[in-house]
């Protein structure tokens, strides 16, 4: 009880002391202010960037994996890219033997001239897909129907278009049931999907016309032997590593790769990319933390300096307080509380500055930082750091004050 009272008393005393030396207190805590302000702004920026990137990943699908053939560096002169392209049996084997993979669709694409009556559009991308594509890419039809197994097995001449294609080809607003010419073959439009804009990070560019056909149909009309790439979806984002290992095992088996030989394919899992990005973000946060600890160290030395000045300025006062019955522990607490209060006020001002910088970041044009914000843990950390700087650097002057001999102190000029 007495301790709590003494503590509150010293806090009031410390605030009075700081108020009496406003300008000095302000300059002293400048190190802390700048440190806390800059680091919270950096963390806010990182948080905004992370938010942006993760939203992008989410759009791509956190459970989605991308598989493609590739020629490793060491095999450049032995094989060409055609030999490493994925094949239908490989995709089927993955679907059958990888329990962590819930769905898979190969993709086959080529560009054609599309005609709708008199209107012809050259170089439109036509993608062959399996019915599971809708689920994997999260692109449900908004009109008509999705592809089904019968379309695939019977290689039907059916297609699905996106709303951009409707506009470009001047199709009916509800084109389901209409026909278009792909190359010189007549296709029935069975559905419409929304355009999904991917960021440049995932190869998405300008919004373009898209036409989808069953995979078997598109391979038939092009008589191609190889599919281009494949999308798989795992049953749970946590299974990313398992799914990748299983796909890798199946493909290596199918391709007869010897141990020691490099993979002739790549598997990209969103979750792994997220983890990697999180790792990078954590690294950047750590670097920012390192910078701030330097500025806090400098700030702390400033605090120690001013506290030492304060102790020697107030030597007589300390002597008097001791003479009228202040115990050494109380004097210690008084100066420690003053240092901590000084630092905490500095931290508070720093946070205000950090928040202003964050608002600036949010409104900066052409940057993906609209969601920049200081996370609560950073606020807590900023205060904890400033307070501990106060304790660490206030300790020496406070001990000095507490140890003063009252007789000597009262004689001090």
């Amino acid at each position: 009880m007495i301790f709590v009272r003494m503590f509150l008393q010293t806090v009031v005393l410390a605030l009075g002391q700081i108020w009496a030396n406003k300008a000095r207190a302000m300059l002293t805590s400048l190190g802390i202010i700048i440190g806390v302000g800059s680091v919270t702004a950096v963390i806010a920026g990182l948080t905004g960037l992370k938010d942006y990137v993760l939203t992008e990943f989410e759009t791509f699908g956190a459970k989605t994996m991308f598989i493609d053939g590739t020629v490793p560096e060491s095999m450049r002169n032995r094989i060409n890219w055609r030999q490493v392209q994925l094949t239908i049996p490989e995709i089927q084997a993955i679907a059958e033997h990888s329990p962590a993979v819930a769905r898979i669709t190969p993709r086959y694409y080529n560009s054609y001239t599309i005609r709708n009556g008199e209107l012809a559009k050259e170089g439109v991308l036509v993608t062959g897909i399996w019915p599971d594509w809708h689920e994997i890419q999260d692109r449900r039809v908004i009109l008509g129907r999705e592809f089904n197994r019968i379309d695939e097995e019977e290689m039907r001449y059916v297609c699905i278009v996106n709303d951009e294609a409707i506009a470009e080809l001047n199709l009916d607003r509800d084109p389901v049931g209409d026909h278009i010419l792909i190359g010189d073959l007549r296709f029935l439009i069975v559905g419409v999907v929304e355009t999904k804009q991917l960021s440049p990070m995932f190869g998405g560019g300008d919004v373009r016309s898209e036409i989808f056909t069953p995979l078997s149909t598109s391979m038939k009309i092009d008589s191609g032997l190889h599919i281009r790439d494949a999308f798989a979806q795992m049953s749970d984002p946590k299974l990313a590593d398992e799914a990748q290992a299983q796909i890798r095992f199946v493909l290596r088996q199918m391709r007869g790769l010897e141990p020691g030989e490099e993979d002739t394919f790549i598997i990209f899992a969103t979750q792994q990319a997220i983890d990697q990005f999180n790792g990078i973000a954590a690294g950047m946060t750590a670097v920012a933390g390192g910078i701030v600890s330097i500025s806090l160290l400098v700030g702390g030395i400033g605090i120690m300096n001013i506290m030492l000045v304060s102790v020697s300025e107030r030597t007589r006062e300390i002597g008097l307080r001791k003479a009228v019955g202040a115990r050494p522990a109380i004097i210690l607490m008084q100066f420690l509380v003053e240092a901590v209060t000084l630092c905490t006020i500095g931290g508070l001002i720093g946070l205000v500055i950090g928040q202003s910088l964050t608002l600036l970041l949010q409104n900066m044009p052409d940057t993906p930082l609209e969601h920049a914000s200081i996370p609560p843990w950073a606020i807590g950390l900023a205060f904890a750091f400033s307070a501990s700087v106060g304790v660490i650097f206030g300790m020496f002057p406070a001990i000095k004050a507490a140890r003063l001999d009252p007789i000597e102190a009262l004689r001090h000029e």
Binding site: R321, A323, R327, P328, L410
Partner: protein
Amino acid sequence: MIVKREHSTDMSAAIDIRGLRKVYRMGVERVHALRGVDLTINRNEFVAIMGPSGSGKSTLMNVLGCLDRPTAGTYRLNGKPVQKMGASELAGVRNIEIGFVFQTFELLPRADALRNVMLPLLYSKHGWFGARRSAKRALERVGLADRMNHKPNQLSGGQRQRVAVARALVTNPSILLADEPTGNLDSTTSEEIIALFHNLHSEGQTIVVVTHEEDIAGHAERIVRLHDGRVKSDLPTVRDPIHRAWIERTAEKMQDLSEVVTRKPEGVTP
């Protein structure tokens, strides 16, 4: 009415000192500030401690005020042995038992009279409750009821010293210790402070004053003279030979002075 003090260990005495020694180490040299002091001060006494500089009166004052610990000997304050206490315990004793009045007042410049007087209560376990009321009462006792919200720089020297006395009294200490309380004051204000001490003494306050001025010491009941770290004499004021000599000298001087004053109109002095 003469009390033999040398060998009585009176438990009811406010201050009881036996064989007190204090040795300072100045580099390799040892300075014997006190060389075995015996002193008993009873409750309600008004004692003056006198002596030339270097006689050890400041050291004795610091020990009496529990600001310093003796090298040897015992010091019982209201029956409690304080010579072995640590810094923290001594602070508690200073807070409760002792009221200090310093030559240079030692008021906090930014605090008003009331806050200055409240200071010791901030460090007291129980006095804090009603500190404001106690501080007002103490200021009333020293006649500064109308100056409570004045800062030290708005007060005269005598008023400042009275604030300091109020601060010393606010915890109801058993001993009021004053170190040259009039050293920084002019004669009129000195009289004011001495009158105040007289009042307090008549109300039952134990007072110990360290001074080198015979006229101040004249107001005490008893004069303890120190010399070279030892008690040279310890007598009631009226029987103290040095003091009596001083009174006679002063009386003669006053007479001479009055003669000079009466002869002045004739213009004898060149």
